[in-house]
Symmetry: C2
Subunit: 322 residues, 2 copies
Amino acid sequence: MDEFSFIDSIRPSAYLQPSLIKGVSDDAAVFRQPSEDIVTAVDTMVEDVHFSRETMQPYHIGYRALAANLSDLAAMGSTPAFYLVSLVVPSDWTQEELGEVYRGMRSLASEYHMDLIGGDTVSGKQLCVSITVFGYVVKDKARYRSAAQSGDIVFATGTLGDARAGLECILNGVNDPYLIQRHRTPDPRINFAKRLSSFSRVALNDVSDGIANEANEIAEASKVELHLNFEQIPYTSQISELFPSRYEDWVLSGGEDFELIGTVSEKEWPHIVEVAKQANTPVVEIGRVKESGQNGAVYLYKEGKRSILNKSGYTHLQEERD
Amino acid sequence: MDEFSFIDSIRPSAYLQPSLIKGVSDDAAVFRQPSEDIVTAVDTMVEDVHFSRETMQPYHIGYRALAANLSDLAAMGSTPAFYLVSLVVPSDWTQEELGEVYRGMRSLASEYHMDLIGGDTVSGKQLCVSITVFGYVVKDKARYRSAAQSGDIVFATGTLGDARAGLECILNGVNDPYLIQRHRTPDPRINFAKRLSSFSRVALNDVSDGIANEANEIAEASKVELHLNFEQIPYTSQISELFPSRYEDWVLSGGEDFELIGTVSEKEWPHIVEVAKQANTPVVEIGRVKESGQNGAVYLYKEGKRSILNKSGYTHLQEERD
């Protein structure tokens, strides 16, 4: 593969972001943002570790890799602006297939007016898609995991467990277009997240590794207890019908749904509901925040019993005295 | 490897950049820079493609990977600020060795007060080190390849061909500490580059793929001819003595010296010499810029004969009528 001609083929013909000064044509890209804070993150997906060509087309690989990164921007309450792409490409990938990976990224990027502003393409044994994203957020309104406070309502967007169930559908030839779409081309909650700058305080995290993990991250960072009710955690009826013995695990720790979990004061909760409606994003209360004596913990209530929910989604019943 | 405990082990205990708002502890990092332009680039190095454990210690791998990225920031005339690291790690790499990769990066980063502000560590078949860097530059003073103009002096910093010769020394057991250091722990020309904001116009490119390639990039982007004199291109006497039949190729296209090639008006050339002295950076004139009828080209003069120098360093003699 000729790196130079390939770069030419994926170079944007026009840019959308007014803050961009120099795009893909020099040693680096240049932008300017005097009025907002800049948010940045990197996320890498590796073939046969994070995705397989048996279950994803090259287009989906690009789409989902960028979706995972946009979900990090959403989790900060920011609006996407730019992305950089680093590809490690094995010799059995054709230039056409790589073009499809970029087409998948472009498809999602254009929805949010994001510009591709640089990258790197090198040879290797295994396809690795590493994306760095940049977003903007109103000054001092980035949304952190550490912002939860006792008394807050815990909320979640969308439905959980879909992406894992969608993978299972593909693997077993179950034709459920909605679940399969949730695995291959998930839509991160940007439209909801970017509306959160009007709040005085919101704790926020994206559900990339499962809500069990993300709830624990909020609990740890904020040094609080999260008390979640399994009955309130949102999931589709499809997954409980199709996979009755496994859906509960997937709801708690299936991961890659790219939904959001957050906490907000009771006073501002109605405003969250309103903002979610504007963004066309389903949002529900799933529990409450309580004070923690120590380092934070997550409790799950189900059928009247209370368990400790750890990061990997494993629960164990608590004695009453706890 | 436990990703979470490893991330804890490499998380900075303090940050140096005053513009940083949130470092390694959430879904993304946050910074604010109202007064300067932001420069960003990504560069990826893959084991057995860009480096080998036979010739580099894990420390050197980290050091050189960051050096390659800093060289891109230098090529834009910017001052380094932050970096994000994405590692793909095979199972035969120990946590201790990975710690050494990070120590190599930190060693160079601390020289320029850079903060590590995020990253990603995933499993894979082959070590891939992908680094995204951020730098700042005075507004509208980023230095582009496209800025060369007819009449400019072409200059180069340092000496060329050293990194390639250093690799050969390691492979053949030749103990030349200077050349070996130039291969393993090259020092990008940040101190020189960041002083260029006082110039009205400078074209700049870093010598990552060999000066033949970089000179052509300037010629193409600026639509000019670069006329270089081989006798003026700087190289050490060591490489011509140790490798008499190969050093000429390496000077032109050895690559990874992370020096700079640039062009500046005759009027401002004395100021370049002065700034280079302040930055303790050797700089010499290596040729002149002339008008081009078409898309730009690079000519090399050697022993009174003129050749066309193409991107890969290959030269062919020109007839007099050209």
